[in-house]
């Protein structure tokens, strides 16, 4: 079984190590709760 998460375009910056492994067609063994990435959206009011 598999879970696929789809994030909206430019909504997340996925951790570099995960992208780098995937870029080599190499799966990364992870556990629930490990970091996946950070939001690239600015919090409301951040520009004030």
């Amino acid at each position: 079984s598999t879970v696929i998460c789809v994030f909206e375009k430019d909504a997340i910056k996925v951790d570099d190590d995960l992208l780098a492994n995937s870029g080599r067609s190499l799966e990364t063994l992870v556990s629930v709760g490990m970091t996946l990435g950070v939001s690239t959206k600015k919090p409301a009011g951040a520009e004030l």
Binding site: I4, C5, V6, E8, V14, L29, V32, T35, L36
Partner: protein, 594 residues
Amino acid sequence: MGHGSSKEDDYSSSSSSDADTKPSRISRLKQRLRLHRHRHHRTRGSSSQQKLNAAEDFAGIALLTLINAEMKFKDKWLACVSFGEQTFRTNISDQTDKPNWNCERKLLLERNGPRVARISVFETNRLSKNNLIGYCDINLLDYLARDSDSDCEAFDLLDPVSSDVVVGRICLSCNVEDPIETEKNFARRILSIVDYNEDGMLSMSEFSDLINAFGNNVAASKKEELFKAADKNGDSVVSMDELAALLALQQEKEPIMNCCPVCGEIVEVSDKLNTVIHLTLCFDEGTGNQVMTGGFLTENQASYGWMFKLSEWAHFSSYDVGLNSGSSASHILVFDRKTKRLVEELIDAKIVLSMRAIYQSKIGLGLMDKGAKEILQSISERQGRQMNSVESAKDILKFVEFFKDQINMAEVKYPLDHFKTFNEFFVRELKPGARPIASLEHDDVAVCAADSRLMAFKSVQDSLRLWIKGRKFSIQGLLGKETCSSAFIDGTLVIFRLAPQDYHRFHFPVSGTVEQFVNIPGSLYTVNPIAVNSKYCNVFTENKRVVSIISTAEFGKVAFVAIGATMVGSITFVKKEGDVVKKGDEFGYFSFGG
């Protein structure tokens, strides 16, 4: 060749004139690490974290020597070193209980790179696969920074079946090459490669060849300019020292090393030392300077018996991992994020053959269309009924035994006798806190949704180029018309693949509100990479799945797709539409069934 005298060789080749008057490389490194620590002590106060900071900053080449071992019975022994993505093996000893290898290998210690080397000792068999007898894990930086003045140290070898049983001891040493010596040695090595007349100097034409070898296509006039800049004493030739100075200075101003002349890898301009280290190790491959045999990815590969020898010419470069081997071999290589090591996920060879026959050929998929889909559905339903029966509980212990190194019963919420059916065990819960959630209070940090093998792609184009080969894959096809919006079309895709031994509950990767669930009926193809990598099969868009949308403040909408697979086709959710959820909360689970 590294048998005992290599250290003396290194000294004489690098700085023979002053080797007697200067402190040894080992003591200089220790001093350097200590100084680094003292500096942190003075400036920031004392804590164990400071030692860690100093260690993490360190990069260089470590020379690891496996000297000998004491085992509890006689056999012919070999040892493997697994470090990061590489594994090296020694030669095979004589029949003895005290194998003596004296094999050395240079290992690259990178900033933020792997630190722990696993040493495994195997008894060898002439025909079949060698048996792992003992292992130990050694943090090389801790070892290098220790206060002992002894050149070698003995470590207990632990039984792979029961890690509190000691099955032998292995003696090893590890030194670090001084970065300045690394640079000098490097200059000497490359100089010798293009020094056709072997006079120890580079003429203009030899220098020009060298620049070309670095993948640098500068104009002839620029080469002349560089040559003049290097030729400090104006004798129309460039010496080793002049070349070393040029490489050091020029690489910072305007890099002349763009790619590795050996493996072709593009080098990172911003990290000169790592570049030099990379090139040094590459130059060493196949020269006999490295005594241990390399080119293996995992200790399993390195320990294969004569059968592996038949294919040892088929060199595995680090770029052959994953996709290619996933579809051409009976194992899949996975990078363990926790240990920073490659591990093999073994699949029964018969299953691999049948999966390849079915999923990677037009004929196989043709068979699928002629009733095999129904067969997969039917065996999954039958399996579900069987795994829900009380009799199935007897298989739990066998399953745990089979995956003993991958299922940690200490973190399972209930003891084995709590589970009345296999399916109950399959969807076992974990104790609270068994899976710490990263940055729990920061909802702008997303977390992994399952214990799994993960692939992440910035766009669907990347996923198609690197992983999903099904010709009909698309985000619209995956999510279905009801939930797909234009913002998802070129969105980021993260795939979590669960294996049978994994904890089978999935969790929320983000905090938000569950908006909707959409059931999409479909087939129950395997989700193994063999099928995902097949151009004839469209696993993700044809399999039975449930699409849910989580609405979040930090990430906008996130589509969460739970996809059923052969045998494990039952998807259950523990949350419902409208629930407000926190990242890390349990969302649902997969179980046996159709």
